[in-house]
Amino acid sequence: MMESRDIQKLLPHRYPFLLIDRIIEIEPGKKGVGLKNLTGNEWFFQGHSFYPPNLLLESLAQVGGVVLASKAREENPQATVQGLFVGVSDFTFRRCPAQGEQVRLKVEVIQSLASIYKFSTEAFVEEEKIAGGQLLLSFVRTS
């Protein structure tokens, strides 16, 4: 399990845009499960009460980034890593998570070609699947 502090060692994202709170399961380079708690006072709730779907995409991509970065750090603790969110395909939203809910973000690498990684992702609230699809991440490491 990884806390927010450990996530910040792997990702360059900070407060307004660090959209995951915790990693509960991780298999470096393969798959991971992250958590996002939606508290009422977060900046994106100003004006409406739902978690914007595009930010849900971003939080899934960040879990993907942790999965890839932890693999690189496992091989070389000093490695500097750089990930980029490059695309989305075939992503469906069933509903938007609301204030007070906890979103479980599940990602799994299904394909990789050179520096591009394709993830199959799903987002759950409790046991209800609220969104799912494929994300593309580019990931480079310099050791």
């Binding site: 845009f17 914007p52 779907p53 595009n54 930010l55 995409l57 971003e58 991509a61 980029l84 969110f85 490059v86 695309g87 989305v88 395909s89 075939d90 992503f91 469906t92 939203f93 938007c96 699809g133």
Partner: protein, 94 residues
């Protein structure tokens, strides 16, 4: 600018377009599906982003769009997405 925010820009432009299609101020849209989203170039401070959206098809309340975010004529991001419009009933018509 984070890539997903350019997607949000495209969505909001499309929502304005949906708003024009129906009687103004009575319709809300929600994102149903995103496909073929590609972030081609990073958008940096100082850039002016132009969002272009085109309605591709419309079935019942599902509207399919093709969107583009342009920075000085070059594509920074593009996507196909579907928005579901719902008609909000507010107050009475007199």
């Amino acid at each position: 600018m984070p890539g997903v925010m350019t997607l949000e820009g495209m969505i909001q432009s499309a929502l304005l377009l949906i708003d024009e299609l129906y009687s103004r101020g009575k319709v809300t849209g929600s994102l149903e599906k995103v496909d073929r989203l590609k972030f081609k170039k990073p958008v940096v401070p100082g850039d002016r982003v132009e969002f272009q959206v085109q309605l591709i098809s419309q079935e019942n309340y599902l509207h399919r769009f093709k969107g583009k975010a342009l920075v000085e004529g070059a594509t920074a991001a593009e996507a196909d997405f579907t928005l579901k419009a719902s008609i909000r009933e507010v107050g009475f018509e007199l």
